[in-house]
């Protein structure tokens, strides 16, 4: 029972990091039509930027803010300089996936060339731990869970109660129709890149805080988890990504407690395959 509670607690932390990343990823995909596989690479670039600032003496939380801003700007530039030109030339979705894979390698190996191949850690304290039966969570982990809840609530408010959110949903649903209704879809897409890029930077730094020790290739497997959460919930569905992240996060950690840990990523993917067999569009159905 204790181990079960502990693994549930760990699953919630994993789910929180995953949710921040998956919300940004799925919004980006839903609105821009780009399945940006370089998302994980941008995350780790943000994590390393915060690390560099942290090593220079800056508080890691301030580093997080800088990483959010830089990743936001970087994502806008990534779209403007790479993805948008391909889309303008009518590149197919498969082509865009290949382009984003290429960008993954360029960014990731660029980070590795600069930062080296060894793993690093932020200089920060985890703070006092909160213990309840088997559940042990550090202050930083609680903050990560809180940030995740904040992002989820913020996303809900953005999509439901703001003009920008409505425009994003309209663009995601049907770009041509949205444009004909007077929505400046190009601007909406640019803002989406900025918002989701910021979420990507946030996800990168909290991912690195959570991992404790990270290197340039640390998000390789995490990207697959992001994809799993996204497709479990339904691609393009922000709420689906939240749900998917919770399911994947909990399944990963709870299965590690009772099945051999080397297969802890197998169980969630078996669940994903079964679910996709039953509901190919994901838990929350078609795109909004």
């Amino acid at each position: 029972m204790t181990l079960f509670l502990a693994s549930v607690g760990f699953g919630l932390v994993t789910a929180s990091v995953l949710a921040i990343a998956a919300i940004g990823f799925t919004l980006q995909f839903g609105v821009t039509d780009v399945l940006n596989l370089a998302y994980g690479a941008v995350m780790i670039a943000g994590a390393f930027l915060a690390y560099v600032l942290n090593q220079a003496g800056l508080n890691v939380w301030l580093g997080l803010v800088v990483a959010v801003i830089v990743c936001s700007v970087g994502s806008v530039l990534l779209n403007a300089g790479v993805y948008a030109p391909f889309q303008r030339r009518g590149a197919s979705p498969i082509t865009m996936v290949i382009v984003s894979l290429g960008m993954t390698l360029i960014i990731e190996f660029g980070v590795q060339a600069i930062a080296g191949g060894t793993s690093v850690s932020y200089t920060m304290t985890q703070g006092p731990s909160v213990t309840a039966d088997g559940l042990v969570l550090s202050t930083v982990q609680l903050v990560v869970i809180g940030l995740s809840l904040l992002v989820m609530a913020g996303t809900h408010v953005l999509l439901r109660y703001t003009r920008l959110g409505k425009a994003m949903r309209a663009t995601a649903a049907n770009k041509s129709l949205a444009r004909n209704c007077g929505i400046r879809t190009a601007r909406v897409i640019a803002i989406t890149w900025a918002v989701t890029g910021g979420l990507c930077g946030l996800a990168g730094v909290v991912f690195a805080m959570d991992a404790g020790s990270f290197d340039a290739t640390s998000t390789d497997l995490f990207l697959v988890l992001i994809l799993a959460a996204t497709f479990l919930g339904g691609p393009g569905q922000a709420y689906g990504a939240m749900l998917g992240a919770v399911v994947i996060g909990l399944a990963t950690e709870v299965s590690a407690a009772y099945i051999t840990p080397s297969y802890k990523y197998v169980f969630p993917f078996v669940a994903l395959l079964v679910m996709l067999g039953v509901r190919p569009a994901g838990l929350l159905g078609e795109r909004a």
Binding site: T2, L3, A6, S7, F10, V13, F29, D33, L35, L37, S92, P93, V97, S100, L101, T104, L105, E108, F109, Q112, G116, G117, T118, S119, V120, S121, T123, Q126, S129, G134, V136, F207, D210, G212, S213, F214, D215, A216, T217, S218, D220, L221, L223, V224, L227, A228, T230, F231, P235, E253, A256, A257, T260, P261, S262, K264, Y265, P280, E286, R287
Partner: protein, 468 residues
Amino acid sequence: MKFRVLLVAAALAAGAALTACSSSSSSSTTPLATAPVSAPATSSTGTSAASSTGTSAGASTGASPTGSPLTIADVAPFSGPDAALGPTYLASCYGATAAINAAGGVLGHPLTCKSVDTRGDPADAVPAVNQMFASTSGLALVIGCTSDEAASVAPVINAHKMAMFCMTGQSEFDSVHFPYFYRLVPPDLEESYAMVAIAQQLHYTKIALAFGNDIGSQTFIQPAIAALKKAGMTLTTNQTLDLHATTFRTEAEAIVQSHPDAIMTEALGAADPTLFQEIMQLNGGKIIPIIGTSAAISPDFFKSAAQAVGAATLAANFHADNLVTETSGPAYAAFSAALLAQQGKVPGATGNFTTYLSAPGGVHLYDGINLAALAMIKSGSTDPSVYSPDIIAIGNGTPGATVCYSFASCASDLKANQAIRYEGPGGPTNFDSFHDSTGIFQIDTYSASGAVNVAGNLSAAQLRALSG
């Protein structure tokens, strides 16, 4: 329709990424190229000389070598979880070749070093090695080939009739004869016994195992379990760590709940530091004592682990087995001078450079390069098929041979037509019929600054008591 296309694309991409994750140390799907590094050679005239012949009389004059350069390839992981291994060997290569070149080179040829990144994965290692053979002129020796890739690349290198000094403990090399394969490190099972012997010496009785899911780390587990049983110790839990995972909280919790006295581990890259940090968090801020393998004696490992749990905490709670190496005397003096002269010049080498003086790869590959270079001089050829047998002759010596301790002094003796026995900082060499030469073990610890201290020795009798 568009949704379906994107779904398929995403599935393909996820599959590609997952494949990359599981089969490669980094996410790249491209085969890794060989990456030349700046070489310490003093000159590089001429074009190519895959092999050349000469007389021992002209072997080592102390003058700058003017022949075409000979290349020593460091075939090892430079990226991925085991990325710290490649630079360790490269540091050794830089040190050895600089000293050799300063002593006149080999048969008039300067030596250079080249890194070949295997990413710690056979799937990347084999094409990288094939590319190395296709693109490297003057290749004279291969070093590295760790347990991550040795099983797949050693046969390839052997088929090319290229001498290699490998840093693998895999037991298959205990009994399979590859004529061009040489090893100065012990089989993994002996290192497993050494870890258990350390636990005995420290009076631990309950042990948890936490090894990475890579080939090199997994080979320790069964011998360790057998040795623990033989020693009458309790195995509290055996956790396998996925080196691509980003947290090991559940594994750490399982370890903490099993209440071990110590943890035996080898999970390189970010895995071990992350595990240590999570164990501390889940164990009320206290780390459980750790017994590592010799691979943990590297500046990169210390830097990462110290960042994760604090240098003082790591220093107080970490032991590792390591082969006994010299810490004084003429061989050590030559070695330390050669290696420390390369500080700041070796790509990828970070952290406390003096740790390389104790790192198994740093010491034993330095010896391997010297043995090969001296064999070239003795045989008068840089062709491995010609010089390879002389590695044994110089390492094991012959009756009446003069013991020498550095390349310069040994080359000078060879020039004087004396029979020699090279004895480097790794101690005396005794190659068996499978070209394996293993020494005895010591117990290493770290100081808070990352310097390596010898905390004790393990006798052959101690290891025998835990074997088979």
